[in-house]
């Protein structure tokens, strides 16, 4: 830009020659005054404007404040000359940002340039949006940019920029981009002949697909075949070979995109992918075997490399491998080398080493790794210590096989790491000791020993105070650990502690008063003394405790000092501290530091958070007459610490921090469901309401196996279903009733808890006029559930997008099998189950007259899959039924029912008894609902 503007060149030279800052300032001020005057004058031609804006920009880049010239920059943008336009855009992108009010002024000019038939102008406009595009630009320009991307007339270099500009818009304002509607056209572009376009489009798809997995499913196959073309078939121009590797950037992105999806079911696709991986691996080394061992072997060589970068990447990738392989054995072979990496000269490498050790730890090597980490902790960088403490604490907890080891290590950790021990760590110790009876005596003994050492860190005093206060009596008979000795051990540290700790220790003392009446005198004198301290909290505690301790009876003291109940099980605060969330639209990692189980748990967590999300949105659709949503979230709600006990940490701290699951000393890896369906990841669209009117079909299908589930003027959806035990199958038939082709046809399941729905493949994306397509779903019931999953169907006819929200008739009754029982058996079971929570009884009025003759009631009951038992009830108009509910995880649940119609009053009395409370309630609700509303 500088070749022809001599004034600018001179100006820059002037500034460069300024030896002192004062001179530079003087020169700048002079120039600013000059430019201001020129601009005020007006009447400048494009060239002059360009020149002055350039000067302003130079000053701006040097760090001077520029508060004028924006308008001139905006004018330059609308110039027809490239050189002027270019400077205008440069100025706008440098001087403005997405939130500037002035950015609004350029939206129109940018749009004009986007629509221009000149690619270079298109590009300038795209660059501007990619740099400063805010919400307003996204809203008004996204469509034009999208057109540039998909138009066959666009040149490659325009498409590239358009794709990345869209990516930027999506990351900033995902709600503005109709990601689902664009899926098909965008996915096609992975095949673009231009590898640069493929690269940019893949970046875009990665962001869109991870939020809309279902809609972008097609990209999986495309990604595999593109990889194959590059890696195996070597289809690329030499331009794209980067140090002997063909376009590594694209390879990396495609592989990462594949990680978002479960492996394809299609044998052919899998074979292709295998070829690709094989080719990639074999191009970097020789010896074959299975892919995992091969990778571990190669990485083992990497981590001993002389080249620091290679060591770094080797360790990092090995941590990745540890996160996803079944056996850690190949990695464990390198344990010694990895331990050595903790002593690497470079902190970046040391960090990776730490991550890897954390990930590869299991029961067999936990002791070795933890011991080594503890030893290293003493000499570790300050920046690393806190993280190390957390990790050691987590590993110790997770892989402890002996109580003693756990207590020893964790106390050693607290005493050596001292200041780097976060509050979470000692809270956790207290919880674990409280929740594990076997641990208590040993813990009490050990803390006492630690308390007696001369240098005892304050965190340890806190743990000691709490544990002795709760469990001190367990060791009071051991010589050297009598009540008074315990008290002296603690009290010798009292004076050195912070106010917070002292408050906690006062609480310990009141517990002592309860446990050891013999030392009451010593303690009362401490309370007496602290009644007069300045700190309000301490004073209050001392005064209150003194009052409690000197009451005529011990009743209140005993109630208050009752043993702490076990802590509720919750996610470890240590872990949640370790895994911080990333912002929403960034490319996500599909793994985290930590072993395989952690990753599995995380996957499940992701899934369950999804389920609660769709549940809560379900609740919003207040069609109250259908189901009672028992809000599966309520059970794991707040922590309960509000009983009368004095909680040691309660004074200043927040009890809620004590949040945890219990210590898994036996190392049973919890076998939680790991089936991953595609939609379960993030594919749920913001749940809108159910399409009005569709409830009538849903209601019928609850007790029928096939029928219409939805119909309007455009589309007809029929359902067929069959269930055996806890498994079921649904086929949906979609018929296009119009004379126009339906395109972009997509279905999305909104999952609910304990029901796993998978589909062998997505439906075809188009339905020809008057044609029909079908989609299959496999359903598995894991445990009792309430409500039903939703299905969202969206498609395009002509221009508008239609979305239909349907409730799938997958309710708990579907997993019941009818059984036959004779009278005595029925009553025996009826009694066995008993009343209380296992029984639900409702008396309600029907909306229609009750007809006992035509058998409609009986048909409905058997449609609910109860076996109708004849002759059991002495009154022939009553209906008695029995069935067994099958679940995969919670076994079988016996279900009995009795219905007493009262024809005159048009009322029913319904009684349900099952061996499971949830099932009882849900069945009762379902039956009541249908009996009330349906004409039988």
């Amino acid at each position: 830009m500088s070749t022809s503007m001599r004034g600018l060149t001179v100006f820059i030279a002037d500034i460069r020659n300024c030896r002192v800052r004062e001179l530079e300032e003087k020169r700048i001020n002079k120039e600013m005054a000059n430019i201001r005057a020129k601009f005020k004058d007006g009447n400048l031609n494009g060239y002059q404007k360009k020149k002055y804006v350039c000067k302003l920009l130079y000053m701006y880049i040097l760090g001077w404040d520029i508060d004028f010239g924006h308008m001139e920059a905006v004018h330059l943008i609308s110039s027809n000359k490239y050189s002027e336009k270019q400077i205008g855009y440069l100025a706008v992108t440098l001087l403005m940002h997405e939130n500037s009010d002035l950015a609004r002024l350029v939206v129109n000019s940018i749009q004009k340039d986007l629509l221009e038939n000149n690619e270079i102008f298109n590009c300038l406009a795209l660059h501007a949006i990619a740099n400063i595009g805010g919400r307003e630009m996204a809203e008004s320009l996204a469509n034009d940019v999208h057109k540039l991307l998909i138009s066959p007339a666009s040149k490659g270099f325009v498409k590239k920029k358009a794709a990345l500009t869209l990516l930027r818009m999506y990351r900033k304002h995902p709600d503005v981009i109709p990601a689902v509607d664009w899926a098909e056209r965008v996915i096609q572009l992975i095949d673009d002949l231009d590898l640069g376009v493929a690269l940019c489009v893949t970046s875009l798809i990665m962001a869109l697909a991870q939020d809309n997995l279902e809609a972008y499913l097609g990209c999986y196959e495309k990604a595999v075949s593109r990889l194959k073309k590059i890696v195996v078939e070597k289809e690329y121009s030499l331009d794209y070979v980067y140090y002997k590797v063909p376009i590594p950037w694209l390879q990396v992105k495609l592989l990462r995109l594949l990680q978002y999806y479960p492996p394809s079911d299609d044998e052919r696709v899998r074979a292709e992918l295998h070829d690709v991986l094989q080719a990639i691996l074999s191009s970097s080394q020789e010896t074959p075997r299975n892919i995992v061992n091969q990778a571990a072997l190669l990485l083992g060589r990497f981590i001993t490399s002389k080249e620091t970068n290679v060591r770094y990447l080797g360790l990092e990738t090995m941590a990745h491998l540890a996160a996803c392989v079944d056996s850690l054995e190949p990695i464990k072979k390198h344990q010694d080398t990895i331990l050595l990496s903790l002593r690497d000269k470079d902190i970046s490498v040391r960090r990776r080493g730490l991550d890897l050790l954390y990930s590869m730890c299991d029961v067999t090597n936990a002791k070795a790794i933890v011991t080594e980490l503890l030893r290293y902790l003493n000499i570790a960088d300050y920046a690393l210590r806190e993280e190390m403490v957390l990790k050691i604490a987590i590993l110790t907890e997770r892989f402890a096989t002996e109580y003693q080891w756990y207590v020893d290590i964790i106390l050693q950790l607290i005493s050596t790491a001292g200041d780097h021990v976060g509050e979470e760590v000692w809270y956790r110790v207290v919880q674990i000791v409280t929740n594990n009876e076997e641990l208590q005596e040993y813990a009490a003994r050990t803390v006492l020993i630690h308390l007696r050492s001369i240098s005892c860190h304050e965190s340890l005093v806190k743990v000691g105070g709490y544990i002795l206060g709760e469990f001190g009596h367990l060791i009071a008979n051991i010589p050297g650990a009598s009540a008074i000795e315990q008290f002296h051990a603690i009290h010798s540290k009292f004076g050195l502690c912070t106010l917070q700790t002292r408050a906690l220790l006062l609480t310990t003392y009141i517990k002592f008063v309860n446990l050891f009446p013999e030392i009451k005198g010593d303690i009362l004198s401490v309370f007496n003394q602290y009644r007069h301290v300045l700190d309000a909290e301490l004073q209050q505690r001392a005064a209150e405790y003194l009052a409690i301790a000197t009451m005529p009876t011990d009743d209140l003291l005993q109630t208050v000092c009752e043993e702490m109940p076990p802590f509720p099980e919750r996610e470890s605060a240590l872990l949640s501290r370790l895994h911080q969330q990333h912002s929403d639209t960034e490319d996500k990692r599909t793994w985290i530091i930590g072993g395989k189980d952690v990753n599995k748990e995380r996957e499940n967590l992701r899934m369950s958070s999804l389920i609660t999300r769709s549940n809560s949105s379900d609740n919003k659709k207040t069609n109250g007459n259908f189901t009672i949503h028992n809000g599966s979230t309520s059970s794991n709600g707040g922590s309960t610490s509000s009983n009368g006990n004095i909680n040691g940490s309660n004074g200043y701290g927040d009890v809620d921090l004590l949040s945890f699951s219990d210590l898994n000393l036996n190392n049973e890896i919890t076998d939680s469901p790991t089936t991953l369906t595609i939609t379960s990841q993030r594919g749920v669209l913001p749940a809108d309401s159910i399409t009005p009117g569709s409830e009538q079909w849903f209601g019928k299908l609850i007790y029928m196996t096939e029928g219409v589930i939805y119909e309007d003027t455009q589309i007809l959806i029929r359902l067929k279903s069959e269930y055996h035990g806890h498994m079921g199958r649904i086929a949906l038939y979609f018929t296009n009733k119009t004379q126009i082709q339906i395109t972009s046809f997509i279905t999305v399941i909104e999952h609910i808890e304990n029901v796993i729905i998978t589909t062998p493949g997505p439906p075809p994306s188009t339905i020809a006029p008057s044609n029909q397509i079908q989609q299959l779903f496999h359903i598995e019931c894991h445990s009792t559930f309430t409500g039903s999953p939703n299905l969202r169907v969206s498609f395009i006819i002509g221009i508008p997008v239609y979305t239909i929200g349907l409730r799938l008739p997958v309710v708990i009754a579907k997993f019941m099998e009818p059984i036959e029982l004779n009278g005595p058996d029925f009553f025996a079971r009826w009694k066995q189950i008993g009343g209380g929570h296992r029984e639900a009884q409702k008396v309600f009025k029907s909306a229609h007259p009750i007809d006992l003759v035509n058998g409609g009631i009986r048909n409905m009951i058997s449609g609910f899959r109860f076996g109708i038992l004849e002759g059991v009830d002495p009154n022939p108009s009553n209906v008695v039924g029995a069935g067994v509910l099958h679940t995969a995880k919670s076994g079988m649940i016996g279900c009995l029912m009795r219905l007493e119609p009262n024809v005159d009053a048009q009322m029913y009395r319904l009684t349900i008894r099952t061996t499971n409370e949830i099932a009882t309630q849900e069945l009762c609700t379902l039956l009541e609902d249908r009996l009330t509303n349906d004409k039988l």
């Binding site: 503007m5 004034g7 590239k160 990351r171 980067y242 490319d587």
Partner: protein
């Protein structure tokens, strides 16, 4: 794998080029420049090219007396970022012109746009030609 910023810093810590792909206040930018530059400059040559800075990663590489520094998110692939830097340097090596415009052709919105040297240089030269053409008409009228 979004790049958050690209900095070119001299051995003495002077910033030669700064391109930001995130919206940050000037103060935040100054802070990042100062802290990251300090960290990078204090590292020895044998050390690896990756650093952690807050929740991000810093990937840098030294070419003669110039440090090329990029900030990426902690999820990103540092090796491929290092290669982006290298490609940038290779192109600058071939094409001696405005480093900002070259960068614009290489990276948009923090993502690699084009990895082919030829394509990048072709587009940049095309722009230059256009500009030269227009300037030809204008002449050297200058104060």
């Amino acid at each position: 794998m979004a790049i958050k910023y690209v900095l070119l810093v001299s051995r003495q810590g002077k910033v030669r080029l700064a391109k930001w792909f995130n919206t940050l206040s000037p103060k935040e930018k100054q802070k990042i420049i100062k802290e990251v530059t300090q960290m990078v400059l204090s590292r020895r040559t044998k050390m690896c090219n990756f650093l952690e800075y807050k929740d991000e990663k810093v990937v840098y590489r030294r070419y003669a007396s110039l440090f090329f520094v990029t900030g990426i998110s902690s999820n990103d692939n540092e090796l491929i970022t290092l290669e982006i830097i290298h490609r940038y340097v290779e192109i600058l090596d071939r094409y001696f012109g405005n480093a900002y415009f070259v960068l614009d052709e290489l990276i948009i919105a923090g993502e690699m746009q084009e990895s082919s040297k030829k394509s990048v240089i072709r587009v940049v030269s095309q722009q230059d030609a256009l500009e030269d053409g227009e300037n030809g008409e204008k002449g050297w009228t200058e104060k």
